[in-house]
């Protein structure tokens, strides 16, 4: 197993390298550059050229990439073109809010989806099954920006129950209760989508397992229905569920770009949009690198969890 993990990590290195090459060149293909975005429109061409030279933007793209890569190996992600702060510092400031928002949303989504999926499978074609399936389609198909604006209109603007956005009240104490009240609406939006997706996988995977002969065996042993469903059936239906969780984990980093924008949540999603509009190459590269690492890590974690959930799966 350890050997397998080491091998997977070694394979991940060239993959990451390829990801950075693609990202760097695609970002540079976009029209405009950081200098156009930050100087005042009346600047002379000489001033622009000087700025570009100062930032190294007058060099060929491959030279810029080489410079970025060598700095990366020294642990330096560079400076933001727009704010002149170190990129590492910016990332650290934005990653916390995103992890909080997405972590809570994933947990809430799963806590809703897994029991509902089991109930749907147990009571297939009942009214509760139809109701949950309807809810699931709603969660998958309604876009987050629309749902987000909808809940802001109803719960923040009309009912005044929750704040419209941001993570803490301006000038407030920034305490836990304040943060929680700011979390409710974006988490509701994100968890609806996550649960809507997950509930379908849990339902179909459980349905598949509930028809298996060994559950009849478990019943014949005289086990209670609760144990049959939650110990024998659920554990055997974990593989598809783990797959979906593995796909969901990268969302912890980059999943909420739209939702963060709608709720002005000071996380990585908001930072991404800001970096794109200001052509902040170094910050964008760092966000992309982080996302790529997360995806590769989540894939590895998924494969390890398969082996934990199913003894028939072995990696030698």
């Amino acid at each position: 197993m350890l050997q397998y993990i080491v091998r997977r990590i070694l394979i991940a290195i060239p993959v990451l390298f390829g990801v950075t090459v693609l990202n760097f060149f695609i970002i540079n293909l976009a029209p405009g550059n950081p200098v156009d975005m930050m100087v005042n429109p009346s600047a002379t061409p000489e001033q622009l050229a000087m700025q570009k030279h100062e930032l190294g933007l007058d060099q060929p793209v491959w030279a810029q990439y080489w410079h970025w890569l060598t700095q990366l190996f020294q642990g330096n992600l560079g400076f933001s073109y727009s704010t002149r702060e170190p990129v590492t510092q910016i990332l650290v400031a934005h990653i916390g809010p995103t992890l909080l928002l997405m972590g809570v949303s994933l947990i809430v989504g799963y806590l809703i989806a897994i029991p509902l999926g089991i109930i749907c499978a147990r009571k297939q074609n009942s009214w509760i099954d139809y109701l949950v399936t309807g809810f699931s389609f709603f969660g998958i198909s309604v876009p987050h920006f629309f749902l987000g604006l909808g809940v802001i209109y109803v719960f923040a603007s009309k009912l005044l129950l929750f704040p419209t956005g941001s993570m803490n009240t301006l000038g407030g104490d920034g305490g836990l209760i304040d943060t929680i009240s700011h979390l409710v609406l974006p988490v509701a939006v994100l968890a609806t989508g996550i649960a809507g997706n997950m509930v379908r996988y849990v339902r179909s995977s459980m349905l598949d397992v509930l028809g298996k002969d060994y559950l009849r065996t478990a019943k014949a042993k005289g086990l209670s229905q609760f144990i049959v469903t939650n110990k024998h059936a659920l554990r055997n239906s974990l593989i598809p569920i783990i797959t979906v969780i593995g796909i969901d984990i990268p969302m912890l980093i980059g999943g909420a770009i739209v939702t963060e924008q709608v709720f002005q949540w000071p996380g990585l999603g908001l930072l991404t949009i800001q970096s794109i509009t200001s052509r902040d190459y170094s910050t964008l590269m760092a966000i992309n690198l982080l996302a790529a690492v997360t995806v590769l890590f989540a894939n590895l974690l998924t494969d390890i969890l398969y082996a934990v959930a199913d003894p028939r799966i072995r990696y030698d």
């Binding site: 002969d213 060994y214 042993k221 005289g222």
Partner: protein
């Protein structure tokens, strides 16, 4: 084991019916019923083996599963030691499962792939609180020895075993609770012929040692003949004939039994030219069974009365449901 009428039956099946609704349309209207088991009655005495034979889809497995309440019967009674299993609560039924066990047909799919054999076997004991973890482990060792598997195997998972070994595990599982009655639902039909004999011998030995009563369901007559004391022949959810194994094989009274026996190859070339009754057509749909005798559509001796009137199961020791039992035809 000889059957004597004086003994109390261990299990009595009275007019057992299992109908599955056929649903159609968006509001799932019930448009009819599949009559999987239709008015089946028989008694099972302690220590005997009752064979249950018939073609695929004749309701023998449904009958078997209804006996241990893995199916809820639509109508009728299953009396086990005076209790009607058909209408007791799930909780009461769970307790009775210590006495009533079942061995399943497919040893590949009937074992949970995520559980070690030792855990699988110990689970019923722990669920019924009949043993502590330590005792259960001891009992797992014992049972593995009884079914002829090394006790080190208990740390393995089901996929690490062959079909025959898995069926031994299935048998061990059924034996864990020391039941009185075991339903063997085609326990050998998924196995190689060479392994079949091993498993049948194991079942026979266990019956002697532990004084078990079996209901042995099969579609192959060979295994049934070898293991059964009495045989019930089923067709389309109904009992056609019920008698001792010897009677069924030597003096079959129902044309369907005769046809089944004919279909069973005899390993003797000198009997090559024995008289054959050939049956034509397929089994009718149990959703729309024929009127009168259910077998009349395929019976070579069918007369008008067979198409109109349902024959009753009659006789003292040798029961048959036919208007014209074979002896009268032959004479």
């Amino acid at each position: 084991m000889p059957v004597t009428e004086q003994r109390q039956p261990l299990l009595q099946v009275k007019n057992l019916k299992k109908y599955y609704p056929i649903r159609k349309g968006i509001i799932s209207r019930t448009v009819g019923y599949v009559k999987a088991v239709d008015d089946v009655s028989f008694d099972i005495y302690p220590g005997e083996t009752m064979g249950l034979v018939g073609e695929s889809g004749c309701g023998k497995s449904t009958t078997g599963r209804s006996l241990v309440r893995l199916e809820d019967p639509t109508e009728g009674q299953v009396l086990f030691q005076g209790k009607n299993l058909a209408n007791i609560s799930q909780r009461e039924m769970r307790k009775l499962r210590t006495d009533l066990q079942i061995i399943f047909q497919d040893p590949y799919s009937s074992l949970n792939p995520r559980k070690r054999i030792g855990d699988l076997l110990a689970e019923p004991l722990l669920a019924h609180k009949l043993a502590t973890k330590k005792d259960a482990d001891q009992k797992v060792n014992e049972i593995l020895e009884i079914v002829g598997l090394p006790k080190q195997y208990k740390n393995r998972y089901p996929h690490q075993f062959s079909g025959g070994q898995r069926q031994r595990i299935g048998i061990a599982r059924a034996l864990m609770l020391r039941p009185k009655l075991i339903i063997c639902d085609e326990p050998v039909s998924a196995l190689d012929v060479s392994i079949q004999a091993q498993v049948l011998n194991l079942l026979k030995d266990l019956q002697k040692e532990l004084n078990l009563t079996y209901v042995f369901i099969a579609h192959g007559l060979g295994a049934v003949k070898y293991i059964s004391d009495r045989i019930t022949v089923m067709y389309l959810g109904k009992v056609m004939e019920l008698a001792t194994t010897k009677e069924i094989f030597e003096h079959p009274k129902h044309p369907y039994t005769e046809i089944l026996l004919n279909a069973y190859p005899i390993p003797n070339p000198h009997q090559r030219d024995r008289e054959q009754i050939v049956v034509e057509g397929d089994v009718p749909s149990p959703a729309n069974p024929p009127k009168g005798c259910v077998f009349h559509t395929r019976c070579p001796f069918a007369k008008d009365v067979c198409r109109e009137k349902v024959p009753q199961l009659t006789g003292k020791d040798h029961l048959v449901a036919c208007h014209f039992p074979l002896e009268t035809v032959n004479v």
